[in-house]
Symmetry: C2
Subunit: 133 residues, 2 copies
Amino acid sequence: MRLSNTSQYAINIMVAIAEHKETKLLNAKSISDTFDIPYKYLTRIMPQLVEAKFIISTRGREGGYSLAKEASSISIINILNAVNDSLHASKCILKPGMCDANNKCALHDSWMVPNKSIKIMFNQTTLESITNL
Amino acid sequence: MRLSNTSQYAINIMVAIAEHKETKLLNAKSISDTFDIPYKYLTRIMPQLVEAKFIISTRGREGGYSLAKEASSISIINILNAVNDSLHASKCILKPGMCDANNKCALHDSWMVPNKSIKIMFNQTTLESITNL
DNA sequence: ATTAAATACTACTTTAATGTAGAATTAAAA
DNA sequence: TTTTAATTCTACATTAAAGTAGTATTTAAT
Ligand code: SF4
Ligand code: SF4
């Protein structure tokens, strides 16, 4: 019952970039050090966040990353979808794939309570709300 | 954001045994067929549930499994702990291991809301409450 | 121009979960 | 007593996530 390492990394990365307020760009090495994310693994996640239009990358010396949009416009679910190919979001915990009301598993009714809470949190929590500005 | 296959299997297995009311014991083959759990994989999970004292196994011809205690006395969290070595239960979603109030991750406060809901559900939901009697 | 410091790309390796196979054990039925 | 149908044990194979390595590309500083 946990997020994948990649998802955890992605959230931390986005928080780091959102909180970075110096003139120098924040680079991969710094993020890697701050959160103990394997550098080489991190540099494979970064292009996905660039591709998702959350951050802008500047290549070459003095390069690094900066936010591409308002922190308030990026929610946790957006970040998870960007690195997960949005597949886990739709999958439920007990059966693979979607289940309809006629074919639900034993835990369905019980699960819908925390499930709703999780969805609300992932959808309503933005990068702005979890950063220290 | 999902339970492991093994955890899902274990819950379904326990439900099947709890709901089984015939005189003949429920055997591994039947459970495997009902839930599409790979037979050989299932037969490695079963001894763990026996070990946890949730079910009693009867070996040999006409053998199978039956509940070892009241369905109302087995909660979901008990089942998860039995197959997970109780490790995932204590791990949180963003950082490995426990975190204290002084060293919490960005999502901590947001996560505590659904987290509480999940814990309550896993703790309070018993086998009895999710079986059709 | 050259160098240095950064991101991006591609391929490979490792690890843990999941799945598979076969043989041993048990006990009722034939 | 033999056969059959069940659980249990141990070892191996597959898969997907995670991690590692090397090289190419880019661009500012020197
Ligand atoms: S039946 Fe409901 S709880 Fe169970 S897997 Fe499907 S959607 Fe999830
Ligand atoms: S700080 Fe809180 S939310 Fe984050 S990993 Fe630790 S316990 Fe979980």
